[in-house]
C-alpha cells in the first residue's frame, strides 16, 4: 500500500469544533464508562459450559458442531470432510495444521494450501473448492461465532468462496462473547501491535431474508458451515 494521505481535514474539523463550542482537536481522554453490562454476560462459565452454549447457539444459525480431542483430530476431520462430500479442498496457510499433526491428512486428501506466491490461482482454487479449512483465533460462545484474524496467509477467501466452510476451533480460544474478543484486540493495540488487517467474525453460513422475510441460507458466502471443536486444554 502506498503512503497514506489526508485531504480537506482542517476546515472540516474546525466547523465541527465551532459547533461544539471548543477548540478543534482539543485532546480528550475516553472515560471509564458508567454502564458496562457486557462483562456480566456468561461470567464465570467453565469451558465445558461455554461449549454447551456454542452447541445451542449453533442450532439457530444452521451450523454443525463436532467435538473431538487432540488424539482423534485427524480421524474426526477426515470423517467431517467425507460427510460434506469431500472433493476439492483448500486450507489456509497456518502452522497450527502441522503442529496438530494434520499434515498427513491434508496430503492424503490433496488439500491445496493457500500460497501467496501463486497469486490469483489461489482465488480460482477457492472459488471452485467444495470445502475450505480454516482455524479459529477466538471463538465466541454466545453467538457461536468463529473469529478469524485473516492476513495474507490465513486468507479470508478460504472461509468465503468454497461451498462449505469447516472451521477448526481450539477449545482454548473459546470466550464468552464479543466483549472478550474485542478486549483481546484492544490489548494488542495498546501494546502497539497492529490488529490483523481483516478480522472476520463469522456466525454460520451466509444468509438473507430480503425476499418476503424468508430466510435463505447460502447467498454469496458458504452454503454450509461446520465447527470442529478440539479439546486442547
Amino acid at each position: 500500500m502506498s503512503n497514506g494521505t489526508i485531504e480537506n481535514r482542517d476546515q472540516f474539523l474546525e466547523t465541527i469544533a465551532q459547533k461544539l463550542g471548543h477548540a478543534a482537536g482539543e485532546a480528550v481522554t475516553t472515560p471509564e464508562w458508567k454502564h458496562q453490562p457486557q462483562w456480566a454476560v456468561y461470567e464465570n462459565k467453565t469451558p465445558e459450559q461455554l461449549v454447551e452454549i456454542i452447541k445451542k447457539a449453533s442450532e439457530s444459525i444452521h451450523t454443525q458442531v463436532v467435538e473431538t480431542n487432540s488424539a482423534d483430530l485427524a480421524e474426526s476431520l477426515n470423517h467431517l470432510i467425507d460427510s460434506y462430500g469431500g472433493g476439492a479442498i483448500l486450507a489456509t496457510s497456518d502452522k497450527r495444521f502441522s503442529e496438530w499433526g494434520l499434515s498427513d491428512v491434508l496430503e492424503a486428501r490433496h488439500v491445496a494450501i493457500w500460497d501467496t506466491l501463486k497469486g490469483h490461482e489461489n482465488i480460482d482454487l477457492a472459488a471452485h473448492a467444495n470445502i475450505g479449512l480454516s482455524i479459529c483465533d477466538v471463538m465466541l460462545a454466545e453467538s457461536a461465532t468463529a473469529g478469524l484474524f485473516n492476513d495474507k496467509d490465513k486468507a479470508r477467501s478460504v472461509s468465503l468462496l468454497p461451498v462449505t466452510s469447516i472451521v477448526l476451533v481450539p477449545k482454548s480460544t473459546i470466550v464468552p462473547r464479543l466483549t472478550q474478543a474485542m478486549a483481546l484486540v484492544q490489548k494488542q493495540v495498546d501494546a502497539d501491535e497492529s490488529p490483523a488487517p481483516y478480522i472476520n467474525f463469522i456466525s454460520g453460513p451466509s444468509n438473507s431474508a430480503d425476499i418476503e422475510m424468508r430466510l435463505v441460507v447460502g447467498v454469496h458466502g458458504p452454503v454450509k458451515v461446520a465447527y470442529l471443536i478440539i479439546n486442547d486444554r
Binding site: 500500500m1 474546525e14 475516553t30 468465503l160 451466509s206 430480503d210 454469496h220
Partner: protein, 491 residues
C-alpha cells in the same frame, strides 16, 4: 436532490401509499416479524442482563463521542493514513461525489461492485458514477433487486420490503431468469450472477457501520457475504461513512455492534462482523492494494451543538421503523426520503432542509414507541415536536397564508362581538356541507382532516349557552369566578 425518493409532495405520496394494499400488508408483516425478533433478542434475552443498562451504555458512548467528534475524527484519519490509507473529508455531497469520481477515473475503472450503504444512497453515488460511464452493481440481495427493477429503498435494513416474490421474479426475468418464485431459487440466481462480477471488479465500494478511531479500522455488519466479496477482490476499496459513525476504540465497538445486531434483525451477531484495517497488502492476494475512506458531513454538522444533536447518535438499526404505526400504514416511499420512519422524519429535515422535508415530522402520532425502541435512547418523539415548532415558526416555507389566517383569527378572538358573531355564523356557513350531523368532504384547510375522518358539524348552541341553561335547569344560580379563585353569585 440526492436524498429524494419519488417526486410527489408528502400528502400525495401518502395517498398513493395507503392505496397500495400489497405494500401495506408486506410492511405490516415485516414489522411484526422484525419487532418480535428484536424483543426476543433484547428485553426477552435473560442472558444479556438488563437491556435498559445496555441502552444506557450505548447512549453514553454515542453522546461522549459526538461531543468530541473532531478529536476522534482526527484520530481516525491519522491512524487510517498512518497505515497507508487515504482519507478525504467531504463537507458536501458534491465534494464526496467528486472525490470518488476522481479515484475511479485515475484507476480507469469501469466495473464497480457495492455493498449496501445508506450514505452512498444519500449522496447519489451510483448516479454520479454511472454518469462517468461506470457499471455500478449493487450486490446486497435487496439492493440488487431494487437496482434491476429501477426502484428505491423503503426500509433502512430491509430495503426491498415492499416487494413480493412475484415482483422479484419479474425483475430477475429481465436478466434472463426462468426459474420459480421460490426465495431460495431466486437467491441462488443472484449468487450465480454476481459471483463472477465480484471476482473481476475494479473498485469495491462499501458504507461503514462503525469506524474505530484508535486503529483507523472500518467495521461492516452484514449477513450475505457480499460485503466480504466487495472488500476482498477489487484492487481498490472505497469506504464512505457518515462523519458521526465512529467509536473511540474496540471496547466501545463491542457494545455498539451488540446493540445494532440485536435491535435491527434480532440476531446475537449478524453472520459477518468484519473489521478492516489498512495494511501493507503488497503480498496479499485477496485484499485491496489501495484503500480510501471518504468521511461525509453533508448537513450533519447542522445538528451539532443544537437540540437535534441526539439524532446523530443513530446507528441505523431501524428499530424505530419497526414499531411506528405511521410507517406501518404508509411504508417507506411516502416519506420521499431515503431515510423513512421516525428517524427519517428527524434526520431528513436536518440533512435536506425544512423546505423539502418540513412536513415529515407530522408523520407521527407522537406515541413515543420509537423512543422506547431506540437502542441508543434518542428522544425521537421529542425531536419530532421540536421540528414541528421550527416548521410552525416558519422554517422552510412561506407563511403568507398562515399569517393572514392567524391574524384574522387574532382579530376575531380579541373582539367579543366578532367572536360571538363568528360562533353564530359558523353553523350557517357550513350547513350546505353537513350530512347526518357531520361533514365528510370539507373544503380548503378542512380537506386533509375530512379525508381521513368525519368532522362533527358545529352546534347551533355553543357551550356557554348550554352551560347557562343547564345550571338554570339544575336550580343553580349563575356564578362568576373571582380573582382569588373563589366563586360568587353573578349579578
Amino acid at each position: 436532490m440526492p436524498m429524494k425518493v419519488g417526486n410527489l409532495p408528502f400528502f400525495e405520496g401518502v395517498d398513493k401509499a395507503i392505496s397500495n394494499t400489497y405494500m401495506v400488508n408486506a410492511v405490516s408483516s415485516a414489522q411484526d416479524g422484525l419487532r418480535e425478533k428484536k424483543l426476543k433478542a433484547t428485553v426477552g434475552d435473560e442472558t444479556l442482563g438488563d437491556w435498559e443498562e445496555w441502552r444506557r451504555a450505548g447512549e453514553e458512548i454515542r453522546q461522549f463521542t459526538l461531543n468530541h467528534l473532531d478529536y476522534y475524527l482526527k484520530q481516525l484519519s491519522d491512524n487510517f493514513a498512518a497505515r497507508g490509507g487515504h482519507v478525504y473529508f467531504a463537507q458536501t455531497v458534491e465534494e464526496a461525489q467528486n472525490y470518488v469520481r476522481k479515484i475511479v477515473r485515475s484507476k480507469n475503472a469501469k466495473n464497480i461492485v457495492k455493498s449496501k450503504s445508506m450514505v452512498t444512497e444519500e449522496i447519489s453515488l451510483n448516479e454520479a458514477l454511472e454518469a462517468e460511464g461506470c457499471d455500478v452493481l449493487e450486490t446486497d440481495l435487496a439492493e440488487f433487486i431494487l437496482q434491476v427493477d429501477k426502484d428505491r429503498p423503503s426500509h433502512i435494513v430491509v430495503p426491498s420490503v415492499h416487494k413480493d416474490r412475484r415482483k422479484v421474479r419479474e425483475a430477475f426475468q429481465k436478466l434472463g431468469y426462468s426459474g420459480s418464485d421460490e426465495p431460495k431459487e431466486l437467491a441462488a440466481f443472484a449468487r450465480k450472477t454476481l459471483r463472477e462480477k465480484f471476482l473481476h471488479a475494479d473498485v469495491g465500494i462499501t458504507g461503514c457501520n462503525f469506524a474505530v478511531a484508535d486503529t483507523g479500522s472500518i467495521c461492516l455488519v452484514t449477513n450475505e457475504g457480499n460485503a466480504n466479496m466487495v472488500t476482498s477482490y477489487p484492487e481498490t476499496q472505497i469506504t464512505v461513512m457518515g462523519m458521526e459513525r465512529l467509536v473511540p476504540s474496540w471496547k466501545e465497538l463491542d457494545v455498539l455492534v451488540t446493540l445494532l445486531c440485536r435491535s435491527s434483525v434480532g440476531q446475537r451477531l449478524t453472520t459477518y462482523v468484519t473489521d478492516i484495517t489498512p495494511a501493507d497488502q503488497t503480498d496479499t492476494v485477496d485484499g485491496p492494494k489501495d484503500f480510501h475512506l471518504v468521511i461525509v458531513d453533508a448537513g450533519r454538522s447542522r445538528a451539532l451543538g443544537t437540540e437535534f444533536q441526539p439524532a446523530l447518535q443513530c446507528i441505523r438499526c431501524a428499530a424505530c421503523l419497526n414499531v411506528c404505526p405511521v410507517y406501518r400504514h404508509i411504508g417507506g416511499h411516502a416519506y420521499g426520503s431515503i431515510y423513512p420512519g421516525p428517524i427519517g422524519a428527524v434526520l431528513s429535515p436536518i440533512l435536506g432542509g425544512y423546505k423539502e422535508y418540513g412536513k415529515l415530522p407530522y408523520a407521527s402520532s407522537l406515541c413515543a414507541a420509537c423512543t422506547e425502541a431506540c437502542p441508543v435512547r434518542i428522544p425521537l418523539h421529542e425531536l419530532l415536536i421540536k421540528h414541528r415548532q421550527k416548521y410552525v415558526a416558519g422554517a422552510g416555507h412561506p407563511q403568507t397564508g398562515e399569517k393572514i389566517a392567524m391574524k384574522a383569527f387574532g382579530i376575531g378572538a380579541k373582539s367579543p362581538f366578532l367572536f360571538k358573531a363568528g360562533m353564530k355564523m359558523a353553523p350557517i356557513f357550513l350547513k350546505p356541507l353537513v350530512h347526518d350531523g357531520s361533514i365528510s368532504k370539507g373544503p380548503g384547510p378542512m380537506k386533509p382532516w375530512t379525508h381521513g375522518r368525519d368532522l362533527p358539524a358545529p352546534s347551533k348552541e355553543n357551550f356557554r349557552e348550554w352551560f347557562k341553561k343547564h345550571q338554570a335547569e339544575a336550580g343553580n344560580p349563575p356564578t362568576t369566578v373571582n380573582a382569588d379563585g373563589s366563586r360568587s353569585e353573578a349579578k
